[in-house]
Amino acid sequence: MKKGTAEMNKLANDMNRRSVLKGMGGMGLAAAGAAFLGMPRGAQAAESLNYMCWEGYNAPSILDPFQAANDATIAIDLITDSAGGFAKLAAGASRDFDLVSSDSPWIQRMGPAGFCRFLDDADFAEQYADFYPQFAAPFGPLQFEGKATGLPTRWGWVGPTVNTKFDTLEAWSSYAPVFDSAYKDKICLLDWGDWPIMPLALYAGVNPYEELDEAALGEVRKVLRAAFKNTRAIVGDLAIAQKGLLDGSFRALIGGGTYCTSSLRLKGHDYIQSIVPEPKDGLKQGIIWMEATGLIDNGRNSAIAADFLKYIVSPEVAKQLAITEATCNLVPNSKAEALFSEEEKKALQMDYMWTAWENSQFHTVAPNIDDMLAIWQEELAAR
């Protein structure tokens, strides 16, 4: 014991600050050198994929089984904005990625832009066979000149999100309350790109998915200006929007729909609902949003990437993709429906989904989206 203490003292004396720093420096150099020289760092996978995607697709419960079964590693690049993801690919990142999951209009754009490989529907016949008939091949919203650019992976609808403790659903059978002075400072617009603009344009009698002239853009300007008068906040953060909706400080969320509803419903807040307003002036007022997954044309065109595309739409994986930590969403695979519990089906408002579908436009490429976004900026600045 005594000997040990003496040795410890000697060691402590020897370990002055300089020697410790020297040692740390040496360890750092060794670590850096090892990284550069490619020293063994555990088991190396045979193939690696780079995957640009939204939240949920990166869940370990989805990625891990595929990585283990295919001896592959998947590196994730999460996007928070579909347009931003597209721009990144356009800036040259398409050479580095193998897969992309984004909003369907952007996946549709990626085909003709040369980022995504066109798919032969026959190669995915087995997957299409499992889908609801609404998503059967050839699936128009993902086609460009008769060729598919991706497979649908998640979907939902955009309409007013309402807390039925404060408002009846009947009150929101149209977007009229957004402009009603009784709702002054009680409306929340979701700051998610074009999402709050589209439903308000539809309410103004303008179909934003068609080519718009100056008069139509003028109507969009008027409706945004009117909506801003009652708007309490334009919120980009889902948690803030949900909190306001729960405590009643926001009476409705506009531009979010089921994307900001289902997870709350799954946690027991089943009095929160997203509905689709009644058609107005011959225009359907709801919007169906959809995410899709495409294969990026990066020159390598890995076969494992195509396998992953089949994997991500399979019933078991689709079910996991539907129920994630942050959000809960519908999936196009009909066989996944049997895997949901009753609570999950209720949270996803599955009893209402085809009603919403019938009363909705499909969110596709809007020709005048930049004009509408510019109007949004101008009107917001003028407040």
Partner: protein, 292 residues
């Protein structure tokens, strides 16, 4: 003149300056130049077109809303500077005088608050400023009625967040200036018959100017780029320049426009600082007489 050229021919000096010069060139001037070049391009189908024209600058100078937001940003930044200094100066003064005994402990507490993630702090303010938040609970407890205060999602909410996140910078710069003031100068002022107030305005305040100015500059520059506070506490209804730039880059995928707005913001910020510097460092009549 001769000695200057000799100095710059000194290889030791050049070797000492070169690393910093290279870092500044590569990581500041080159990206800035690239940003400036980007403003002369256009986008088509969300892809950059190397066109070399003035489309973007024409748009910026023909649309008043860009300038509305820029001026609002500068205004908010200047207000933030004034409030931050008004909070920071008494705090720093107390730390160097009345609270000297507990100065270290208080500084550690301030540093802890400063080092806490800004996202966390800003979101935390929602719980305080919300209609059902802590502040309203307290006001209601004091008999002011329910929801007496409604400043969340307003420019006032933005300002509270900005001041909270930035006031610590002048707090430390002013503290350093005050701590370096020779105590004998203050005592000499008292000996000469000056009151405490006169001593403060004629000795302490002038000698703390370096910390005051550097703190103000830090707050101003950081305020120009404030992003989180207007978005989270301001509710996005009165956007500042950073949000405008983000929207242009990210939502509109119009990189030339985003780059041009960035350049505009940098120029406005630099001009404001230059004007402030000219005002602050203007020669007083006494100094002019002395020079003459």
């Amino acid at each position: 003149m001769k000695s200057q050229s000799k100095t710059w021919n000194d290889p030791v000096l050049v070797a000492a300056v070169a690393p910093l010069a290279i870092v500044m060139l590569v990581f500041f001037l080159v990206p800035l130049a690239m940003t400036a070049l980007l403003t002369f391009q256009t986008t088509q189908y969300y892809r950059l077109q190397w066109t070399w024209d003035l489309t973007i600058w024409t748009e910026i100078f023909s649309k008043p809303h860009y300038w509305t937001i820029m001026l609002r940003t500068v205004g908010m930044a200047l207000i933030c500077v004034v409030i931050s200094i008004l909070i920071a100066f008494p705090t720093a003064y107390a730390l160097t005088t009345r609270l000297k005994t507990y100065s270290a402990q208080i500084q550690i507490l301030i540093i802890f608050a400063f080092l806490t993630d800004a996202v966390l702090k800003t979101f935390g303010w929602i719980l305080v400023l919300d209609r059902q938040g802590v502040a309203n609970w307290l006001l209601s407890y004091l008999g002011l009625g329910p929801e007496a205060m409604d400043i969340l999602f307003t420019p006032t909410g933005t300002m509270i967040g900005m001041v909270y996140n930035l006031a610590v910078y002048p707090m430390f710069t002013i503290y350093l200036s005050l701590a370096r003031i020779d105590r004998d100068l203050v005592l000499a002022s008292y000996d000469a018959g000056a009151s405490r107030i006169r001593t403060f305005f004629e000795v302490t305040l002038p000698l703390s100017r370096p910390g005051l100015y550097s703190g103000a500059v830090l707050v101003f520059v950081l305020s120009l780029g404030a992003f989180l506070e207007p978005k989270v506490l301001g509710g996005g209804t009165s956007p500042l320049a950073s949000e405008l730039i983000r929207q242009s880059f990210e939502t509109r995928v119009n990189w030339p426009l985003g780059a041009a707005l960035t350049i505009v913001l940098i120029v406005i910020g630099a001009l404001t600082l230059a004007l402030a510097a000219a005002f602050v460092f203007r020669r007083t009549p006494a100094a002019r007489r002395e020079l003459a």
